[in-house]
């Protein structure tokens, strides 16, 4: 029982990253009809936003302290970060400690801006071209973004710690009367993704803007004929989708040290998730994300692996292939969207 609960937790945790990226991909596909292979790169840029914020916050200057000596007998050099000197050691230390959550505030505008630039500068010109061309140009863009990040941050993974208060483990099992210890940050990640997903859905469901966007997703031409500037709204949605991917990346940094090709690693999986969920279906993307995450977690249990060795490596692909061949529209795909 404990093992099953633990795997469900593992799955929810993995699934929340899949679901967030797949949600952004689906938003872009559903609104603009563009297959965005650069979405993984956006996820990676988000992660590097967190790295940058942490580095900026811990910028420091050195003061030679004559009263103290280091072990060689020279005057001790004391490093003080600017943040600490401005806000006092306690407050400043706390700010540096909470760099990753603080990065969210910076990442949102940056990611939205990157999304705007990408859409207006490049993807706009590809609406009328074939899907193959869209895949190719965004694939090229992904390579470029990845190499730019590699140029500035190097090829090695960069460790970025979560706030100390959230870096331990918690006994999740207490809720069910058993003992299951699980890293706090992963639980935070799950709730964070639930909040973001809920936010996006309610934004689309309960605001006028969202209503127009949904109408545009259903029939772009008619909405345009009604005198609504649907292109501008779709551009904004692209920005939002980029921000979702970026936030997923920011929060993912303490779980997995970011490196420049993490986007590509996630991209293949998130495409599989989108296709399983049904191209253009937002609930489908979220459902498929969590479902595949949980399936993967269960497949990596030792009991399962002893029967089918290596199943954890391929389970997602196998499920995707089966679903694509039996339910061509995916789990919750809308009728008429990319059906061939």
């Amino acid at each position: 029982m404990d093992a099953i609960l633990l795997q469900i937790l593992n799955g929810l945790d993995k699934g929340s990253a899949y679901a967030l990226i797949a949600l952004g991909l689906t938003l872009i596909f559903g609104t603009l009809g563009v297959v965005n292979f650069a979405h993984g790169a956006l996820f990676m840029i988000g992660a590097f936003c967190a790295v940058t914020v942490q580095r900026l916050l811990s910028l420091s200057y050195e003061v030679v302290d004559e009263t103290q000596k280091d072990f060689l007998g020279n005057p001790l050099k004391v490093k003080t970060s600017y943040v600490e000197s401005w806000f006092g050691p306690e407050m400043g230390g706390a700010i540096i400690d909470w760099a990753v959550p603080i990065a969210i505030i910076f990442a949102i505008p940056i990611m939205i801006l990157i999304g705007f630039v990408m859409e207006r500068g490049l993807i706009k010109h590809f609406y009328k071209r074939e899907h193959a061309d869209q895949i190719l140009v965004t694939f090229g863009l992904a390579i470029v973004l990845q190499e730019v990040i590699k140029y500035f941050y190097g090829a090695n993974p960069i460790q970025t710690a979560s706030p100390e208060a959230l870096s331990g483990v918690a006994n999740v099992g207490a809720l069910f009367g058993t003992e299951i210890f699980y890293p706090v940050w992963r639980i935070v990640y799950f709730f964070f993704s639930v909040v973001i997903i809920g936010g996006i859905f309610s934004f689309l469901q309960f605001t006028t803007f969202g209503m127009v966007v949904r109408a545009g997703m259903a029939d772009r031409e008619t909405v345009g004929l009604l005198g609504i500037n649907i292109d501008r709204r779709f551009t904004i949605m692209f920005g939002i989708a980029a921000a979702v991917a970026g936030l997923a990346g920011v929060m993912y940094t303490p779980i997995n040290s970011p490196n420049y090709h993490m986007g590509m690693d996630f991209l293949v999986l998130s495409f599989v998730v989108v296709v399983v969920g049904g191209m253009g279906s937002l609930p489908g993307a979220v459902l498929a994300g969590f479902m595949l995450g949980i399936l993967e977690a269960f497949a990596s249990m030792n009991e399962v692996k002893s029967i089918l060795p290596g199943i954890d490596q391929i389970i997602i692909y196998v499920v995707a292939i089966i679903i694509l061949l039996t339910r061509p529209r995916g789990l919750m795909g809308r009728k008429g969207v990319m059906e061939e």
Partner: protein, 400 residues
């Protein structure tokens, strides 16, 4: 010649001359000059040119003709490499059975994957092939370790049970791959004045196979079968409405291009008998997509050009460093020189992929036909200018 019309014969001859004279063409600089490091005429690199050329020609038969964009072709290359290495381990060090087996096995593998993937088209096909390739990569990396030797990669060892041949040579080393006794690594060096040209047996084997592969692809492009594939690309629905089942045609194209990839993999293993899982990763599939698009998808010579272009500049660019740049721009005033070097710095050396990515994007955006279209446009422009000159001179002459 060989049932080709004049234009195709000329193209085949051009490719033949280019590949057979490559040791000369790629070695333009004398060995002891400062530019010698930019020579690309050494066997290892030349082999890579033609092997990736074969790979790209095969990919083009699928993508260029039918428009089906496969993102999993590296899987066939990997399967080809593995089967070739197994043949070396078990049967003999002769490359012929190894290459034959790698073509057959990858053909079967392509038949299986193609049969499933081709039930869908468009983006779904791309993602299905991507999923299959990634699955094969994961399998090769972990579960199938007894066959693929996992992370380390499959290599020859001293105790291979080679049926036709010996496990180890008399002096206790691993035997080398050969073609009926002609060692693949044997190289004939020719010194002409300050130049040194290398003629490698393995390279010439690859080059001849490339020519055969290129010839076959011309025949496929010009055949009724090729016409059918083009029809699939332009409008598959209409084909279906006329009562024609397109599946056998697309499947045949998929299997053929898979066999080309397997051939490339087999050759790769024949030149250097080891195979690793990283050859199957989806970024490796992305590379052949880059080559084909960059050269010109759907054209005959495009993929070969693209493969040569990418592999050549990969080699050149990664050798340029700041020092070399400073040498090139030393004619400029100091401040400007530093500035120019600073600007170019991110694009050279390790930054080659950045250059490639930008180049690729530019090609997709502005030149969907790739280098071939670029060449055609330039030719047209030059011709157009000539015609204009002619017409202006024609109007002028009566005035005399």
């Amino acid at each position: 010649m060989f049932g080709l019309d004049n234009k195709d014969t000329r193209m085949l001859l051009v490719v033949a001359v280019l590949t057979l004279c490559a040791p000369f063409i790629l070695n333009p600089f004398p060995t002891d000059s400062a530019m010698a490091q930019f020579n690309a005429g050494y066997p290892d690199l030349m082999q890579r040119f033609v092997i990736f050329g074969i790979f790209a020609i095969g990919f083009n038969i699928l993508f260029g003709l039918t428009g089906y964009l496969s993102f999993g072709h590296a899987a066939f290359l990997g399967v080809g490499s593995y089967s070739a290495v197994w043949m070396f381990k078990l049967l003999s060090m002769n490359v012929v059975p190894a290459i034959l087996l790698s073509v057959v096995i990858s053909g079967l593998f392509a038949l299986l994957i193609g049969f499933v993937s081709l039930r869908r088209s468009g983006i779904y096909f791309s993602i299905l092939t991507l999923a299959f390739a990634q699955m094969s990569f994961n399998l090769a990396y972990s579960v199938l370790t007894p066959i693929t030797n996992g992370e380390t990669g499959l290599q020859l060892t001293l105790d291979d049970p080679r049926i036709l041949g010996v496990s180890a040579t008399a002096d206790g080393s691993i035997p080398v791959t050969s073609l009926f006794g002609l060692e693949m690594r044997s190289t004939f060096e020719m010194a002409v004045g300050p130049w040194a040209f290398q003629f490698n047996a393995g390279y010439y084997l690859c080059a001849l196979i490339l020519l055969a592969a290129f010839y076959l692809s011309i025949r496929i492009f010009r055949s009724p079968f090729g016409m059918m594939l083009r029809a699939v690309k332009s409008n598959q629905q209409r084909m279906n409405y006329t009562g024609l089942n397109t599946k056998p045609y697309t499947l045949a194209a998929f299997v053929i291009s898979g066999m080309y990839a397997g051939l490339a993999g087999g050759l790769m293993a024949s030149m250097d008998p080891l195979a690793g899982a990283e050859r199957m990763q989806w970024t490796a599939s992305g590379e052949v997509v880059l080559m084909t698009i960059l050269g010109g998808a759907g054209t005959l010579i495009g993929p070969v050009l693209g493969a040569g272009f990418i592999k050549y500049f990969e080699n050149i660019f990664s050798k340029i460093n700041d020092h070399v740049l400073h040498g090139w721009f030393s004619f400029m005033p100091d401040g400007l020189e530093d500035f120019v070097v600073f600007i170019i710095h991110p694009f050279i050396g390790k930054g080659w992929h950045l250059t490639l990515g930008i180049l690729f994007m530019l090609v997709v955006v502005f030149l969907p036909g790739g280098l071939v279209e670029g060449g055609q446009r330039i030719a047209k422009w030059v011709k157009g200018r000539k015609n204009k000159d002619d017409s202006t001179s024609a109007t002028k002459t009566p005035a005399e």
